[in-house]
Amino acid sequence: MKQLQYLFMTLAVMLLATPAFAQGVNHDVANQWLPIGAGLGMALAAGLCGLGQGKATASATEALARNPGARPGIFIFLILGLAFIESLALFTFVIIFLKVTPIQ
């Protein structure tokens, strides 16, 4: 408990001290949040895409276990669903790539 308290205190101090890290950085102020925004955006997209694909695959395997005869139909719909879910994460990737690349 005590250690957790120390941990949270340290974290709070670090949270307050963010201006100290920004010293001496002469980047454009508008772009300073871009890398972390890109990272968080891609992480959110990848994580939620993983959740969605996991649900889809779980249902497909369950359906296949209940009725192995329906393999071809299930396979087509599984691949289609995965492709559509995946394309959402890929849209995020493309947008991030377009926004991040010109700055470097």
Partner: protein
């Protein structure tokens, strides 16, 4: 300027002047007049030549008594495409199997090309998947009009006339979104696969990137299949008779 692959350099050495002249005639001004041929175009040309050579080989060694290896491969491809398109489009699928086979093989070979050292995937350049998507878009609309006539346009306005003002823009946007999603899916998968391999190569230059090359191999095959499947589904929606 981007680095040129060997095949691109050979093409540019011999064909730069006529290609630039041709582009100038159409009022297109290439960024580098000395090297107007891009890597993606050179790789597409290579895929085209490979496939033409393969089809010519299959055609010339066709035999009923002693089928060769190439013929077995072609029969397997034909069987796969026919089975898939029959389960999606149903009656009258034979008309589309030539286009769909060409699409599948072209995308598959293009995707797998990125795994060969000295070559790169043309599909990792955004204009190439856009080309496939636009051709597919025109193709399924053409076949929709051909098989349904004027009533093909009725599917854009929805089932009831008093909602058509709402449904018409939605339908038009969704048809154009198909082009966007087909393009971005193929392009981003190929591009991200290359990028991931490069990123891990810069971290650990030995062994580890091989895992991601293996992953990229799977992604390349699955994406070719997905593009083919979606083209078949759009075709089936366009040519379906709903009466």
């Amino acid at each position: 300027m981007a680095t040129q692959l060997l095949f691109t350099r050979v093409l540019n050495e011999h064909l730069a002047a006529p290609v630039t002249a041709l582009l100038q005639a159409f009022h297109v001004h290439p960024a580098n007049p000395q090297t107007p041929i891009t890597n993606a175009f050179a790789m597409e040309l290579l895929v085209f030549l490979l496939l033409v050579a393969y089809f010519a080989l299959v055609r010339s060694t066709l035999s009923v008594e002693k089928p060769g290896a190439a013929q077995h491969l072609a029969e397997m491809t034909h069987g796969f495409v026919s089975e898939q398109t029959e389960s999606i489009i149903g009656h009258g699928y034979e008309r589309f199997s030539s286009y769909l086979t060409a699409l599948l093989l072209f995308i598959l070979v293009s995707n797998l090309m990125g795994l060969v050292p000295g070559l790169e995937s043309p599909t990792a350049d955004v204009v190439v998947p856009l080309g496939f998507a636009l051709v597919t878009f025109l193709y399924y609309h053409y076949h929709g009009v051909r098989s349904n006539g004027v009533s093909y346009y009725k599917q854009f306005v929805g089932p009831v006339w008093w909602l058509s003002w709402l449904l018409l823009p939605i339908e038009i946007i969704s048809h154009f979104a198909r082009v966007l999603s087909l393009t971005v899916r193929l392009f981003a998968n190929m591009f991200a696969g290359d990028l991931v391999t490069m990123a891990f190569f810069s971290l650990v230059p030995i062994g580890i990137p091989l895992i991601f090359l293996g992953l990229h191999l799977g992604v390349a095959v699955v994406q070719a299949y997905v593009f083919f499947l979606l083209a078949a589904i759009y075709l089936s929606l366009a040519v379906a008779h709903d009466h």
